[in-house]
């Protein structure tokens, strides 16, 4: 049975190709001047017809962001505890068929990483694993969270999709945020880039944010990996998914990420090019469509681009990032999941934000 977001997804999946073709320039003008945007307005802002209007959209997006979030950007850093993986995702450096050195941190090593990160002043950490439920089991993750909660106000997870009870188990240990990317909302492409493993189950992943929401997760970050499929349709679905989550869980903070695929050891090349202007356009469209939506910008993007994106709607950034297991403290860094573009440490990112007139927020929860 089609339930949850999949029902809305199905309604638009077939139609989404056609609706982009039906956009006229006047639809863009109307969308920009609307107070509350309809789904059709969203399509208009994501269409090629909106491309000449980026400056106008940017001005509006900046005002909306300023009113809703102020001149403050929340910072966090990723902490990879395991890169074992049972999924075969063709774009990922931790792909199960890949020949990378595998490692799962001991709890002492997790503590070392936590101590280092905490020494930078950050109070928000994102705990990451590969897709292996045996090596990085829920009970292992519970133990990791116990350690991390000694150091951080907020612990989010970016791991394989869980069952409802498993989300509760982690929330009970103190997890307050979930990041889970659908990668692509194109079900056909999804099947082609996820060759084997539990992640192949499109629906199970699609419904994961809702399962976490039902169990009271405070912040939920959705995302697409740009380059796998047509970005306009992917971002359209991402926006609808975020809207669905906002409507269903009004007390949760919903945010999105729109990272572009970066080269990794596998040498995967994205099928679809996504330009800087495209990323700008989607962030503006997301901001205008959902004024209260959080938008996270990772270190996959380079320093210049991240700085220029700041006023357009960004509310959260990573800093001092590493995508290698134990990468914060290990002297000889093992395999990275993907390449980091913005390599600046937490202090440098804080100084950059201050110089741009933004307050770096290191702590934003009392967990």
């Amino acid at each position: 049975m089609d339930t949850g977001f999949y029902k809305a997804y199905k309604k638009y999946d077939n139609a989404s190709r056609a609706i982009f073709e039906n956009i006229r320039p006047r639809d863009v003008a109307r969308a920009i001047s609307s107070r509350r945007l309809s789904t059709k307005d969203l399509v208009a802002l994501l269409s090629t017809d909106a491309e000449p209007h980026l400056e106008e959209m940017a001005r509006k997006a900046r005002d909306i962001t300023l009113r809703n979030f102020g001149k403050a950007v929340q910072l966090y850093t990723p902490l990879y505890v395991s890169n074992y993986c049972s999924n075969e995702c063709v774009y990922c450096g931790f792909n199960s068929s890949g020949d990378v050195e595998r490692k799962t941190l001991s709890l002492d090593e997790v503590r070392e990483e936590a101590e280092f990160i905490a020494s930078t002043g950050l109070k928000h950490v994102l705990l990451l694993t590969g897709g292996c439920r045996v090596e990085a089991s829920v009970s292992y993750l519970k133990d990791c969270v116990k350690v991390l909660k000694e150091y951080f106000s907020s612990v989010s997870i970016e791991i394989y999709a869980l069952e409802e009870d498993e989300y509760t188990a982690l929330i009970d240990e103190g997890v307050d945020g979930l990041t889970i990317y659908q990668e692509t909302y194109d079900e056909e492409v999804y099947g082609k880039v996820h060759l084997s493993g539990r992640k192949r189950d499109f629906r199970f992943r699609l419904d994961a944010p809702e399962r976490a929401g039902i169990r009271g997760m405070r912040t939920i970050n959705l995302g697409v990996l740009l380059g796998l499929a047509h970005w306009r349709r992917d971002v359209f679905m991402l926006a609808l998914h975020a809207e669905y989550m906002q409507d269903k869980f009004p007390s949760a903070e919903i945010s999105v990420s729109v990272p572009r695929i970066k080269p990794n050891a596998e040498g995967f090349a994205p099928k679809y090019a996504v330009t800087d202007a495209n990323v700008v356009q989607m962030v503006l469209a997301l901001r205008l469509f959902l004024p209260r939506l959080g938008v996270t910008l990772s270190t996959r993007e380079d320093a210049d681009f991240r700085e220029n994106m700041l006023p357009l709607g960004i509310t959260r950034m990573s800093a001092g990032s590493t995508t290698a297991v134990g990468g914060h403290t290990a002297a000889d860094s093992n395999a990275a999941q993907f390449e980091i573009s913005d390599k600046r440490d937490v202090r440098e990112i804080m100084d950059m934000l201050s110089s741009k007139g933004y307050q770096p927020v290191l702590k934003d929860w009392v967990g």
Binding site: G70, G121, K123, Q246, P250, Q359, K363, V366
Partner: protein, 255 residues
């Protein structure tokens, strides 16, 4: 007689309260507070890090100010109570603005959960100032539960849409015995003046300052507007006459 606002045993001269969440730089908060002579300042507990060796927002709040921590981020009464207790334990005093928000789209407060939190915190000795959706009946419940003041919104937080809830707030001002402080949505000094003209006891502003090109100058402007509005209220604004006096008096037959 000096016109002072009394809340929780404290006497407050400035009726312009300042929020701190959206400023680009914590140091700006100090300049804003200096320029406006504001005495009550609200800070989100979720943003305070007592362990931090870095500059802390609390370091920028002048001695003369009353710190009113807020429970931003709380989704129900239990979370608000937990945050309030943390604030007290961290030495942030006992003034707490209760903010319980269950709606992340509009950030509209949950009066019902707020009332529950007031009951618990007032009992524990906090000076409780609830942020609320303007409503007379709920405001009475809040006072009964122990609120030291009530803080109805002017329009949604961050909207800068102004004093849209005037009719209801006016009734609250007439009926509620504790101070009524208009919090949220006030976008311009003229709107703050309007709140004060109808008898609100104070106005709290954040976004209108932080989003201004010159927050310090804007804070000064707000401070003056709040003072002007208060003076007008005290002076007694004559009721608006809707039409010219009738030329033949309606009670002329009595002569």
């Amino acid at each position: 007689m000096e016109d002072v606002l009394k809340i929780g045993g404290k006497e407050i001269k400035s009726r312009f309260f300042v929020g701190t969440g959206k400023f680009p730089d914590k140091a700006v908060v100090r300049d804003v507070l200096e320029a406006s002579a504001a005495e009550v300042v609200t800070v989100a507990v979720r943003r305070v890090d007592p362990d931090s060796s870095d500059e802390n927002i609390l370091d920028h709040i002048p001695e003369r100010c009353v710190l009113m921590t807020n429970t931003s981020g709380a989704r129900d009464a239990a979370e608000a109570v937990r945050i309030a207790r943390l604030a007290k334990a961290a030495g942030c005093g006992d003034w707490i603005k209760i903010e319980v928000i269950n709606d992340n789209k509009y950030l509209l407060p949950d009066n019902k959960e707020t009332i529950k939190a007031i009951e618990i915190l007032a009992e524990e000795g906090f000076t409780v100032l609830p942020y609320m959706n303007p409503d007379l009946v709920d405001a009475r419940r809040m006072v009964d539960a122990g609120a030291a003041a009530v803080m109805p919104l002017g329009s949604p937080i961050g909207s800068n849409r102004g004093f849209r809830t005037e009719e209801i707030v006016r009734i609250m001002v007439d009926e509620i015995k504790v101070p009524v402080i208009v919090d949220a949505g006030i976008g311009a000094p003229s709107e703050a003046a309007r709140c004060m003209e109808i008898g609100a006891d104070a106005v709290l502003v954040n976004t209108a300052l932080s989003a201004a090109a010159d927050p310090v100058k804007m804070a000064e402007a707000f401070s003056k507007a709040v003072e002007a509005g208060r003076s007008a209220y005290l002076a007694g604004i004559p009721e608006r006459i809707e039409e010219a006096s009738a030329s033949s008096p309606l009670t002329g037959f009595l002569r």
